[in-house]
């Protein structure tokens, strides 16, 4: 094979001789592949652990009947048990609780029918529980609870010990009657699980007469589908009958958004890696012009030359991808617990113990790494064919490339930018419900735009240098002028460096502007809806329903209002419900008192009134379902489906899946649920907020654990949370900037090495060392400035595109775009600073040029 011949005899030597450049390119792809791999592993691990927990908790049940999050009437249990084909149907209460002392760790309480549940789940009690609890005995004492061995050991809890637990009814005392071996459900959720009797759980957690789930096993010979249909028919509307597989899928869907943003990050990382490969191969082609000419003269075909460069890329990217997979594994290990925590707080409890490592995904990522590299290398490799074999005949002083843009490049650039425009235009024209309207479309538009602009980089650079020469060059003296000339002389190569800077700056400006808009939107919204002075929550202030929150009884409202200095209290209930396949947030508010303190941005219609079957929805719901003010929506309630009139479309960013607002009275009536997740407390004018806060804390001391936060602190908590999501973005920005820096180093170093002779001549006729380094540094700064300016323009545009594709899609179209000006300033400074920094080493190299050697060189 010719290519292997050439690889062995030419490429490997180049790779050996150009360690720095090779290492940088290697690093770029490795980084891309590693982020892809780690995201893959982390994501799969989290999903698997969630699935594992679900399966353990589900046991042998093949069908699960569930209603709204607040639970449903236990009468349904009998109905299900009577359905022919049902083997066992057992009630389950699944709720959160937390230890009142010690680590205050939260855990899941599984309330089960002690007599029947062993038909579905296996429990093995440790030998330590010497008097193996008699089920009836267990049942007879409502304070009985079983803990997992793991949790008990961790918390130092022994059998028969009294345990104070935070519940919806306040602090409750339980007695640990036994410990569970890590087996079956006891192994789920990393052992953060407790089991008690279902009826005791109903009492303890304020769910009298209600259960959360019915777990069903079916008789042999019955099919899942027919049983599902039979159960569905026997129950009123609004109930979900899931298979465990269906639950897994739900979790995957739940994770999809999380995954999407992760995928975007790894795609960006890979894209940046591709940029480095593109850069490396481009420079390699320019630097090896002479070699290409010689090889062509000696009889290497154009195809052979292209294959040579591609083969080099394959070898390099194979190495890099393998390295990347290894790094990815390492990153996954580092980040898995943090991610698991984030996921727990956002989507439900998860405890990840094992990394999901599959050879398939490793090979896939290596394949993607190589493919991406080859694609990136294809364009510059093709340009190698422009080197005529004749160029070997006469030695060219050093590669001059006067061509700014060849026709094809111009065409592609214009075409890509136009395409981006068309995509956005179509995107904005089609209806909100159109399948085109998703983040894939906007990402595509963004990529087209970025690629189009990078292709036009030489043109921009030329224009920029002309501008520089007429305004600035003369002020920088001889070095300034020579720097300008040098860039002009090698436009297309310097344009590669400009494009690298452009790319990373645009990413950073775009994401900070997007984040800024989202944050501003959310903060404005919170300011609008949250004017209270003190906020009381039982869980983390920002935890959504489903996460580890323990609601408080509505009766607390009166207790709170009785606290001196309190003017009024607004309750909130938040829960997710299954609605046409989506997990939609249902928010119950007191429609009589709430509007007195809060301004709700109403897009259309007017808010609902008390005692009516009315709701309001946010834009997301309105857009997705095509509901208008005055329309009717049928919601599943624990008492069956009910029709509600949609009176208003309002602004809300509370959930990305959509929000439905309801009056608290309506909610209590239909859901039989009398709890709140949050109380907003308004202090009487003239009273000290801190004093009132202290009295509230006093009032509930020892009865209930809860967060009592001044509203200001609450907002800060939200801001902190938002900032956390920005950190991930910042990490990517730093990464891309770093890579852009490498790109500049590579470009400048190559051009310095190539100009050895020229620098020697300049030195010999009297240019000082520091003038030589000044030339290189000015070049570097110019590249940075050009890239920075282009990046800012592109970033502002792509920021808007991304806002459109990600946040507006989830949060509603009225989220307005706020360019983040500080980040533009810092991006420009950073790009110039970074470029100068990147130019330091090449500048040092240039200044060190040995005049005699430089002049004797060929």
């Amino acid at each position: 094979m010719t290519v292997t011949n050439m690889l062995r005899h030419i490429s490997l030597k180049h790779i050996r001789h150009q360690k720095v450049r090779t290492a940088i390119a290697l690093f770029g792809i490795a980084l891309g592949v590693s982020s892809m791999t780690s995201i893959d592993i982390v994501n799969t691990s989290v999903i698997r652990s969630l699935e594992d927990s679900i399966n353990r908790i589900t046991g042998r049940a093949v069908l699960q009947v569930s209603g709204a999050e607040s639970g449903f009437s236990e009468e349904m249990l009998e109905r299900v048990q009577k359905i022919p084909g049902v083997e066992y149907a057992v009630p389950v209460i699944e709720t959160n609780a937390s230890l009142a002392s010690g680590s205050e760790r939260s855990f899941v309480v599984l309330g089960v029918d002690v007599l029947q549940d062993s038909n579905i789940r296996d429990y093995s009690v440790t030998d330590e529980s010497s008097d193996i609890p008699d089920p009836l005995l267990f049942l007879a004492r409502p304070d009985s609870i079983l803990l997992t061995k793991e949790m008990a050991h961790r918390e130092g809890i022994r059998i028969d010990q009294k345990l104070q637990v935070q519940t919806v009814q306040g602090l409750k005392n339980f007695t640990v009657r036994g410990l569970l071996e890590p087996d079956g459900p006891a192994k789920a959720l990393g052992g953060d699980i407790a089991v008690m009797d279902v009826y005791a759980a109903q009492l303890a957690f304020g769910k009298e007469g209600r259960i959360d789930r019915i777990d069903v096993s079916i008789l042999r010979g019955e099919t899942l589908d027919s049983m599902k249909a039979r159960i569905q028919a026997a129950l009123p509307e609004g109930y979900n009958i899931d298979t465990p597989a269906g639950r897994s899928r739900q979790i995957e869907n739940l994770m999809a958004r999380f995954r999407k943003s992760m995928d975007l990050i790894s795609f960006m990382a890979l894209f940046v890696g591709m940029y480095l490969i593109y850069n490396t191969v481009s420079i390699s082609v320019v630097q090896r012009r002479k070699e290409i000419g010689i090889l062509r003269a000696l009889g290497a075909t154009q195809g052979q030359i292209i294959r040579l460069f591609l083969a080099e890329t394959v070898v390099l990217s194979l190495l890099a991808s393998i390295l990347g997979v290894g790094l990815g594994l390492f990153f996954a290990k580092l980040s898995i617990s943090a991610v698991a925590q984030t996921v727990s707080s956002m989507y439900g409890r998860s405890q990840v113990t094992d990394l999901a490592f599959t050879w398939y995904s490793m090979l896939k990522n290596i394949g993607i790494g190589i493919a991406a590299s080859v694609i990136a290398a294809a364009f510059p490799a093709r340009s190698s064919t422009q080197v005529a074999p004749v160029s070997a005949i006469r030695s060219l002083p050093y590669a001059m490339d006067g061509t700014v843009l060849n026709k094809a490049q111009k065409f592609f650039s214009a075409a890509l930018i136009t395409l981006a425009g068309i995509i956005i235009l179509i995107y904005k024209t089609v209806g909100l419900a159109s399948p085109i309207r998703n983040s894939m479309t906007t990402t595509l538009a963004m990529i087209c735009l970025l690629l189009g602009i990078s292709l036009a980089a030489p043109l921009f650079l030329k224009w920029f240098i002309t501008l520089y020469r007429s305004f600035l060059a003369s002020r920088l003296g001889a070095s300034g002028r020579i720097a300008g000339l040098n860039i002009e002389k090698n436009l297309s190569r310097n344009a590669v460096a400009v494009a690298a800077v452009f790319f990373s700056i645009s990413l950073s400006v775009s994401s900070s502007s997007m984040m800024n808009s989202a944050r501003k939107g959310v903060m404005d919204y919170i300011d609008d809806i949250e004017n209270s002075d003190i906020i009381i929550t039982s869980g983390h202030p920002l935890a959504t329903a489903g996460a580890a929150t323990i609601p408080m009884p509505l009766g607390m409202r009166q207790e709170l209002e009785a606290v001196p200095g309190v003017q009024s209290v607004d309750p909130f209930r938040k829960l997710f419900m299954n609605f046409s396949g989506k997990r939609v947030l249902l928010e119950a508010i007191d429609i009589v008192t709430w509007p007195k303190h809060n301004t709700c941005t109403i897009i259309d219609g007017k808010l609902m009134t008390r005692g009516q079957e009315e709701i309001s929805v946010n834009e997301t719901i309105a857009d997705k379902l095509g509901v208008k003010a005055g329309g009717v929506m049928v919601l599943p309630t624990p008492n069956g489906p009910k029709s509600f009139v949609v009176t208003a479309i309002v602004l809300s960013y509370a959930s990305d899946a959509g929000v439905i607002f309801m009056d608290m009275e309506t909610y209590e009536r239909h859901w039989n649920d009398h709890v709140a997740d949050m109380f907003s407390v308004y202090v009487k004018p003239g009273n000290d907020i801190a004093a009132v806060r202290a009295s509230i804390q006093d009032r509930f001391k020892g009865k209930r654990k809860m967060f009592v936060l001044p509203a200001l602190e609450f907002r800060q908590e939200i801001k902190k949370m938002l900032d956390q999501s920005v950190v991930m973005n910042d990490a990517v920005n730093v990464l891309t900037l770093l890579i852009a820096g490498f790109g500049i180093i590579v470009t400048l170093l190559a051009s310095v090495l190539e100009r050895t002779r020229e620098i020697g001549i300049l030195r010999s006729i009297g240019m000082k060392r520091n003038q030589v380094s000044a030339v290189v540094l000015i070049e570097s700064a110019l590249i940075g400035m050009a890239g920075g300016l282009l990046g800012i323009v592109a970033g502002v545009i792509t920021g808007w595109i991304n806002l459109e594709g990600f946040f507006r899609l989830d949060f509603g179209a009225s989220l307005s775009y706020h360019i983040h000006y500080p980040s533009i300033g810092s991006a420009l400074l950073l790009s110039i600073g970074l470029s100068v920094l990147a130019g330091l080493y090449p500048a040092k190299r240039a200044a060190k040029t040995n005049i005699v050697e430089a002049l004797s060189y060929e």
């Binding site: 011949n5 003269a297 009889g299 060929e858």
Partner: protein, 228 residues
């Protein structure tokens, strides 16, 4: 052996159209050592590019061993270069990263022959030009004369029909030049067809035939001396 029939070459230099070669008809016989002389701009480089298959004529015909070099694809032309033509350049054009033996082997490496098979031949060729001690040296470790001898070995490895030399001693001192010419002369005596392009009469005098180009046309065609 090599046949030019009304070969012309025009190219654009900025807005100007340059006639580098005008209607040149020439036939080079097997075993000839042809020196092509001419001032810069006379068209001698173009002449070399055309018969070496580095470039194609704008009009007219060129044949090597009866095979046309005009109107064929780049790949076909490339294969002719690889298999029938051996190049010797003024600036040697060795790949700096390769050893002498590897540089010599390049044309056959391009054919896909394994290096282990080529290497003995490459070393033998290097021995013939007196570089047996230098086979594993890289160009930067060689003198100009040595580099050019490596280049000659490289040109010979594919047993080319014609050896094309472009100012082969333009970068060498007179004594070293003479050594290179003696090498070429020896090859010529062994029957190798050689075409050399030079502006130096002392170099040209080694040819068995001297053609002078002027303004893209043949102005003189001396064929005397021959073997003394």
């Amino acid at each position: 052996m090599i046949e030019l029939k009304n070969a012309s070459k025009k190219y654009q230099q900025g807005a100007r159209e340059v006639h580098a070669l005008r209607d040149v008809s020439l036939s080079i016989k097997k075993g000839e050592f042809l020196s092509v002389m001419g001032a810069s701009g006379s068209g001698k480089s173009t002449f070399l590019n055309l018969i070496g298959g580095l470039d194609q004529p704008s009009s007219g015909e060129i044949f090597i061993d009866g095979i046309p070099l005009h109107g064929i694809s780049d790949d076909e032309l490339t294969l002719i270069r690889r298999r029938r033509v051996g190049f010797i350049f003024q600036f040697f054009n060795l790949l700096p990263i390769l050893t002498a033996a590897e540089n010599v082997s390049l044309p056959l490496l391009l054919e896909g022959t394994p290096y282990s098979e080529i290497k003995p031949k490459a070393i033998k060729l290097l021995e013939q030009v007196g570089l047996s001690e230098r086979t594993e040296h890289r160009p930067e470790q060689l003198s100009g004369g040595e580099m050019q001898r490596v280049a000659i070995s490289r040109a010979l490895i594919s047993n080319p029909a014609v050896l094309l030399a472009d100012e082969p001693t333009g970068n060498l001192d007179s004594h070293t030049s003479e050594e290179i010419f003696m090498l070429l002369k020896n090859l010529h005596e062994q029957g190798q067809t050689i075409v050399m392009v030079t502006h130096d009469p002392r170099a040209a005098a080694y040819g068995s035939r001297i053609v002078t180009l002027k303004d893209g046309m043949v102005s003189e065609d001396i064929s005397l001396g021959g073997r003394a």
